[in-house]
């Protein structure tokens, strides 16, 4: 086997940004095969103004980037919540953000991986096709979702998003495929309008998980504020395991959302939501007695 070495480009912000910065061109795909001097002149948008990488960042790295983007790692040594479009349409390689990231991390991402060590803002992994995004902090709204106004199913199309902190509202809205794991809590409307894929929330979530879903799975391992009446209780299951995430406690399985004729599965932890789910349990048991 031929020895392959990966190269790392480190980017340091020269000053603390005051406006949103569009870094959509700072991806391994754009860096691949370029001299350091031409990398320095890659276009970056600061607010509405066009500028270049070397104006905003100090860059350290080898003189020439390898032709294969899979061998390139880009590290944002200083993170900022103003850096938007990190990893836009990237297909290979790795991006590490040692700090916070802004909106639209991994928008339309096709492969590779992004690691954010701080928090990220809204629209993380929107419309991503494949690859991995890992966020160690919290994320904003519409994680792995679609853009506003689009049809259900125009969201995330594949890949994995792992969030170690909390997430905002509408996680996985309109997603088609793929996996979202949130180790913390999530906001309202988890997995709304989704048509496939899985969303796992280990902690609590807000109101109405799975509103308008027509396929896929939503798993809530903690408390739920409310469940929509358009879901019907199907059964109880003693434990579940979804793509490597195991829960050793009973879950109640709902099917819905019947408003859109959906066949999505909603798993709610029974022990954490006894006051809501007791009534449903009695319904399930009554039916089984009659049969």
């Amino acid at each position: 086997m031929r020895y392959v070495s990966t190269v790392t480009y480190s980017l340091y912000l020269k000053s603390k940004p005051t406006v949103l910065i569009d870094v959509r061109h700072l991806t391994p795909d754009e860096f691949a095969g370029k001299e350091l001097s031409s990398i320095k002149s890659i276009v970056v948008w600061e607010g509405g103004k066009k500028t270049y990488l070397s104006e905003l960042f100090d860059i350290k790295g080898p003189e020439k980037a390898p032709g294969d983007p899979g061998l390139i790692t880009i590290t944002f040594e200083t993170g900022s919540s103003k850096l938007c479009y990190i990893g836009y349409k990237m297909s290979k390689g790795k991006i590490i953000v040692k700090g916070d990231a802004g909106h639209l991390v991994g928008y339309k991402m096709k492969g590779g991986s992004i690691v954010v060590e701080g928090n990220a803002r809204d629209y993380v992994g929107v419309k991503m096709r494949d690859g991995t995004i890992e966020i160690h902090g919290n994320v904003g709204h519409r994680l792995g979702g679609k853009l506003l106004g689009e049809k259900p199913g125009k969201g995330m199309k594949g890949g994995t998003i792992i969030v170690h902190g909390n997430a905002g509202s509408e996680v996985g809205v309109g997603m088609e495929k793929g996996l979202i794991i949130i180790h913390g809590n999530a906001g309202n409307l988890v997995g709304s309008d989704m048509i496939g894929g899985s969303v796992v929330v280990r902690g609590n979530c807000g109101l109405y998980p799975g509103a308008g879903m027509s396929g896929g799975r939503v798993i809530v391992g903690g408390r739920v504020n409310a469940i929509l009446p358009s879901f019907y209780a199907d059964s109880m299951t003693p434990s579940i395991s979804v793509r490597g995430v195991k829960f050793d406690k009973p879950f109640m399985v709902f099917i819905g959302d019947v408003v859109v004729g959906g066949r999505g599965l909603l798993y709610i932890s029974y022990n954490d939501n006894k006051e809501i789910l007791e009534y449903y349990k009695s319904l399930i048991e009554e039916v089984s007695v009659e049969i």
Binding site: G48, L147, L148, G149, E150, K151
Partner: protein
């Protein structure tokens, strides 16, 4: 204002019978003058050698302003994500949107294509103040609006009472009050039925409560428009739009004109977006084209004009119409988004996003119907190509639509991509007709100007006309349009130079100056005796029906950015 001399261009000016002759055009103080009057020492001389010179284009039917357009913008944020274009001050404002663009893009895109007059074809009276606010903000082009009278309770009351002259006076008052240009009928009577019964009506069905038929409404409003001697008589969107088998309804509606008493030789009835009302067959699965029948009816009735509502395949569209019952049906077909509105006693409206797909059986038939009607009628003076923007496609695609009319090869290339089963049910593959550049100039300039009754100063390049000129970089003597239709599309998408009111607004396809055009409206005179009757009628009915006072409906001239009044001598005897 500077003087301009355009030299050596191939001029196409159908109203003056000029077909591609090399002529010089002089422009002075916003008007066209004889080239000999231009002072060459201070005039700007433009060499248009090897280029086409045409009058500014006129679009007779395009939903560019009004509350429904704004709701369309609100409900389609996805229309704006990838279509933004930042401003370039002081020449150009920021642009966004494709099917429901912002006001600036509407003006700029029309100007880039060489269009200088666009008509908003449907505005409910009570919301017309909003329509004018939006029209005021559309740059460059001249504008006009048609007022909706199809289910107006006041008009319906006058129709059942048989007060013909009072009806004419009321319509005249409505046109003047709302500062609009002509009368528009959308699915006559169906909005009353929609509100009361939750469905639409066919042309010979009874409208509940009023116990008249849409045929009566068309006839009476038609007669009133003749009495008023309006420049554009009646703009009608037929009943049962969008339903299979509706071509019969369209033929019946065209048949109403024999009951209308004509006062002049101008067309009596303009059937709009005829593609949507030319379906044969019993259901969506057996849909067929009624294009041949409609073309036959138009040939037989010289006082009928059409516009196409040509479908552009493969583009998103936002259907928005005052035909609310149909939008309700369409929403259940698409199952995505729907907006519905009802404006007190006047009309209703619906908005549903839609996408015309090349592989779809129904959409292919729709695409073929529009072209069949245009090609089989073969009269460019009476068939006007439109896409009913944004219902059947964005106006941006007009050059592509023209290419299908001028080139059989363009049609054949498109036919390779569409649904083949549907194509077999149409006659389009066997039609060999190809329109010429002169015909295109008629359809987009001369005919609409005549139809709107503005041909005195619009749509031609004769002395005294408004200096609205479009120059396209295409040499008609070198390029074979039926083969190289791509070159035609390229040239017409971005005009080489556009002059509006004597000022250069577009250079090589880019907007170089933002100016604002005029808004045209009519003021038919009403005899003073009749005016008294009308006043007492309006006072009584407004108290009874409307939530606003009579004075609040009146739009004053200063509310329009640049109002141009067209006074009309009517035939009402008082």
């Amino acid at each position: 204002m500077s003087e301009i001399l355009i030299k050596n261009g191939f001029v196409y000016d159908p109203i003056n019978g000029i077909n591609g002759e090399i002529l010089d055009i002089g422009v002075k103080d916003g008007k066209i003058v004889d080239p000999s009057q231009i002072d060459l020492s201070k005039a700007l001389v433009i060499d248009a050698k090897g280029k086409i010179v045409m009058p500014g284009g006129i679009d007779i039917h395009s939903h560019i302003a009004g509350p429904k357009v704004n709701i369309g913008r609100l409900m389609r944020p996805e229309d704006h994500y990838l279509t933004n274009k930042p401003h370039k001050l002081p020449y150009r404002r920021a642009e966004t949107g494709l099917t429901v663009p912002n006001v600036f893009r509407i003006g700029y895109d029309y100007a880039r294509m060489g269009y200088t007059l666009v008509v908003e074809p449907a505005t409910p009276p009570i919301k017309t103040r909003h329509t004018h606010e939006e029209l005021n903000d559309i740059p460059i082009i001249d504008k006009a609006a048609f007022v909706l009278v199809d289910s107006n309770w006041l008009a319906l009351d006058l129709i059942i009472e048989g007060l013909r002259e009072l009806l004419a006076a009321y319509l005249a008052w409505l046109l003047y009050t709302t500062k609009t240009f002509a009368l528009k009928l959308v699915d006559p009577g169906s909005d009353v039925t929609w509100v009361l019964r939750g469905r639409g009506v066919d042309v010979d069905e009874q409208i509940p409560v009023y116990n008249i038929t849409p045929r009566d409404i068309v006839r009476e409003i038609g007669n009133a428009s003749q009495l008023l001697n309006l420049p554009h008589k009646m703009h009608i969107h037929c009943n049962r739009l969008g339903y299979p088998g509706n071509y019969l309804t369209t033929l019946k509606t065209i048949g109403v004109i024999k009951d209308i008493l004509r006062v002049s030789e101008t067309p009596v009835l303009h059937v709009t977006h005829v593609q949507f009302t030319g379906y044969k067959g019993d259901s969506w699965a057996t849909l067929e084209s009624g294009g041949e029948d409609i073309a036959g009816a138009v040939k037989a009735n010289p006082y009928v004009t059409l516009d196409l509502g040509q479908v552009i395949l493969g583009r998103p569209a936002t259907t928005m119409t005052a035909d609310a019952p149909f939008e309700y049906v369409l929403y259940h077909l698409t199952r995505w988004k729907w907006a519905n509105a009802d404006t007190e006693v006047e009309t209703a409206a619906g908005i549903v996003p839609y996408k015309y797909k090349k592989r779809s059986y129904v959409n292919t038939i729709q695409w073929a119907i529009g072209l069949e009607v245009a090609l089989l009628t073969g009269d460019p003076w009476r068939v006007i190509p439109t896409t009913d923007h944004p219902n059947a496609g964005p106006f941006k695609d007009y050059p592509i639509m023209f290419s299908w009319l001028i080139s059989k090869k363009a049609r054949e290339d498109m036919m390779k991509e569409v649904n083949q089963r549907a194509l077999k049910k149409t006659t389009l593959p066997s039609i060999d007709v190809e329109f010429s550049l002169y015909d295109i100039a008629i359809m987009t300039r001369a005919a609409p100007a005549k139809l709107l009754g503005l041909d005195r100063f619009k749509g031609h390049l004769g002395v005294g006309a408004d200096a609205d000129i479009a120059i396209y970089d295409l040499n008609p003597r070198e390029v074979d349009l039926s083969r190289d239709y791509e070159k035609f599309i390229k040239a017409f998408k971005r005009a080489w130079l556009v002059i509006k009111s004597g000022e250069i607004v577009v250079k090589e396809g880019e907007v170089v100056k933002t100016i604002y055009g005029s808004t045209y409206y009519v003021e038919p005179e009403i005899p003073s005796e009749l005016k008294r009757d009308l006043d007492s009628f309006l006072k009584k009915k407004f108290k009874e029906y409307y939530s606003i006072t009579l004075d609040s409906l009146l739009i004053r001239e200063y509310e329009l950015r640049r109002a141009v009044k067209i006074p009309i001598t009517t035939r009402i005897k008082g």
